[in-house]
Symmetry: C2
């Protein structure tokens, strides 16, 4: 399996990159209706539980590294989608919260994202989709 001369299309790393790129492109296209990059959808979705999340926690959850997240959050604060509060229990930390405006946007974005998943379900099938999700979760687990 995956011999040295195998074509690149047989490598798991490549297949994942290719699938991710394609699905991401489709999602990007939908979210662009609201002028929002995929990462901001992720941020709003995580924060929409209403709890405060530290920057480190957020960075992990939305798959961005710290400095990139800081700068993206700066923009979202300017757009009044989220706001910062210093953590009273540990003042090194900053807790991020979603604003009312952010909640409204988040709902619209979720609709678009769910649309996409339904579109995938139609062309790809219910069974394949849930099986793929299961395998991905287990791959991620086994990598920690």
């Amino acid at each position: 399996m995956a011999k040295p001369n195998a074509p690149i299309t047989e490598h798991l790393a490549y297949l994942l990159a290719q699938a991710n790129r394609e699905i991401n492109r489709q999602l990007e296209l939908r979210l662009s209706k609201e002028g929002v990059p995929v990462e901001q959808w992720r941020i709003l979705k995580v924060l929409s539980d209403g709890n405060g999340h530290s920057m480190g926690e957020l960075a992990d959850a939305v798959l961005l590294n710290h400095p990139t997240l800081t700068k993206m959050i700066d923009r979202m604060v300017s757009d009044t989608l989220v706001y910062r509060v210093q953590d009273p229990n540990d003042r090194r930390k900053v807790l991020m919260f979603i604003s009312d405006r952010g909640k409204v946007l988040s709902k619209k974005l979720n609709t678009l994202a769910v649309d996409q998943e339904e579109h995938i379900l139609e062309s790809y099938g219910n069974k394949s989709t849930s099986e793929l999700k299961r395998l991905l979760e287990s791959l991620i687990d086994s990598s920690n």
Copy 2:
């Protein structure tokens, strides 16, 4: 499936991004032994069939857009890993070829990449891996 309030970890787009990030990180780590980014491994691997590949073809194959590829190829030409030849049949095109030095490096990189796949196979299992590959291929197919 994938209701509006479902956590982000249930979205296919997110699971793919997460798995891709993790596997890519591991591969990056191995390839860094040779000081080469993942994209250059892909380029060398595609070119190592010995045929000339146009920039457009390459860009598709290695999942980069045109300007990014052009600039990465510039660096690889400086490192004498690849070289450009104008396509005699269509002079708008540039054909990329791998050099001897590139072939030597490509072999080393393939070893590292195969190592990684074997490592995944061990912790994740043979059956899961091939099933995941099958599903990813089919997802990519159904998206075109």
